[in-house]
Amino acid sequence: MTPPNTSFTASSASARAPASAPASPNIRAVHDDFHGDLLEVSMGPHHPSTHGVFRMNVTLDGEVVVKLQPVFGYLHRNHEKIAEQNSYLAAIPYTDRLDYLSSLTNNWAYVRAVEQLVGIAVPERAEYLRIILGELARIINHACLVGFLLNDLGTSFTPLLYSLRERERMLDLVEELTGSRMMCNFFRFGGLRADVPADWLQRLDAYLGDGFARYLDEQDALLTGNEILLARTQNIGVLPPALAVSAGISGPMLRASGVPYDIRKVDNYSLYGRFPFQVPIGDHGDCYDRYMMRMLEMPQSVQIIQQAIEELPSGDFITPKQKNAGLRPKVGETYSRIEGPKGEIGFHLVSDGTGKPYRYRVRPPSLINLTALEDMCIGQTLADTVVILGSVDIVLGEVDR
């Protein structure tokens, strides 16, 4: 796969003309004789392109966005306070419902935080299995995102259906292992809920090497060089690196802006240090680069999974005799983060020594990545805001919590 404009290094010469700086919000006087009034459009919360119940109050000058106000909270479920009412174990199934496209990495982030708080060691085999499942979640998420992004561009369904078709195959495997397609609830303090059978791993390996590889090639041929896609995404919604860093953007969106920051490499958590994978870095920070980040991360994740399956040691899938129910950590607090498919997903836990967390706080990548939405949309047309929002990759379950 050779993407035209994205490279693995942070600074390669740009093939594209630099994007014009985003126009300031006050493009024209409001009651300009010739141009008439500004128009305020409320997009959402039921708009199909807003990926859930999200609303954008967009102020338009003709077709150009001059102001954008995101409105969210429609899916608020009091996640954090519910977790503070429950035992530590009982919060795991709730984390499934944060970013419900990648529940496995949510589980992982939470479980790691508790392990750090209590000081639980994880067996080597469990770490390998966690990496396999985490990367599988990343692939599922990115396959979905690519489909939905193309749907937002108006391809009405073809690439999305191809993506969902492959995702179904992976979800079949996930269901077989965890009992649920999306609400996996599979990670436990000290390891996993159950061992992963060898034939399951073999089937996953076979699928990734054959069916999924075919899908990647197909999607690449179908989309990456497509002139309409290029015209609709290149230089659209540019996010400058300085702004991305100061806004706390993370994940593929940050890397698309050319900032080489991947928590798997920076923190080297779990056993990622043993995996020589590459992290794609973008050049322009536009929608096209964000799309390419996902396309390029998928083969890397496949490679990690293949290596992990090959090197998988035997041993325990969970620390023997590890208590999960009725856990009472000592007084203290911790923050732990991992590289989720959407960015840095972290959990801040404060324990007061009882069986319930005193404070439970989620750092949701979707919400924080959304904060730069207005900066990316100003000066673009209304049709582009839909694409820009699609390229941010949000899941409202996580934004609203």
Binding site: Y162, G179, G326
Partner: protein, 212 residues
């Protein structure tokens, strides 16, 4: 050349269109009510209670320890233990309700249960006429026989039975060893007794030591 990307894409969609009629792998649609999908063993939906014998109430495995009630994330389990006439708590639930309109199917109850009494079911076609009362399942509605459990979770059942047999064997061996030890002790005591007070009845002394 402008447009080659689009042509390439159209070729792929055409290939997929044709494939969707002939490719075996692609013909995955099931005619749902007539054809049932294959449900994997680990599939979980709502919990049910397992009973071992003929009578659902008296052979229920549940000992009303309330572990599941405590750990259930949305707190949708409600248990009241049975009491005998004197008010002493018996190891049996009098009330065991699960509100399946609240249950999130997480399977934590099945995981924490120390007596393998609550398990995850495979049914997914649940209908009710009333939103509240019909979805609050009681003990008798939740109880299902161990044969049903064996049928839907053959692997788990086999593992559990093996563990149970092992436990029983260990317990029996322990009991035997304990009995042997008592016997040996009794014999030793009897010997000492005989040595100290030769006139005493040996058997009587041995029984007395064993009783202690």
């Amino acid at each position: 050349m402008l447009g080659t990307g689009i042509l390439k894409g159209l070729f792929i969609t055409a290939k997929n269109l044709v494939g969707s009629y002939y490719d075996k792998e692609r013909l995955t649609t099931l005619q749902y009510p007539e054809e049932a999908a294959n449900i994997p063993e680990n599939y979980r939906n709502f919990p049910f209670l397992v009973f071992d014998g003929e009578d659902a109430v008296s052979t229920l495995r549940c000992v009303a320890c309330k572990m599941c009630e405590k750990e259930c994330p949305p707190q949708c389990i409600y248990i009241v233990s049975e009491k005998d006439e004197k008010g002493k708590i018996m190891r049996r639930p009098k009330v065991f309700d699960i509100d399946i309109s609240v249950c999130m199917g997480c399977g934590i109850c099945a995981e924490v249960c120390p007596s393998s009494a609550i398990k995850m079911d495979h049914i997914f076609e649940v209908t009710a006429k009333d939103r509240f009362s019909d979805l609050l399942l009681h003990r008798d509605q939740l109880a299902k026989s161990v044969d049903y459990y064996k049928q839907i979770h053959p692997t788990d059942f086999a593992v559990e039975e093996k563990a149970r047999a092992e436990k029983k064997r260990v317990a029996e061996e322990k009991a035997q060893a304990a009995a042997a030890a008592t016997a040996a002790k009794a014999a030793a005591a009897a010997k000492t007794a005989t040595a100290a007070t030769p006139k005493t009845d040996v058997a009587k002394a041995a029984t007395a030591t064993a009783a202690v």
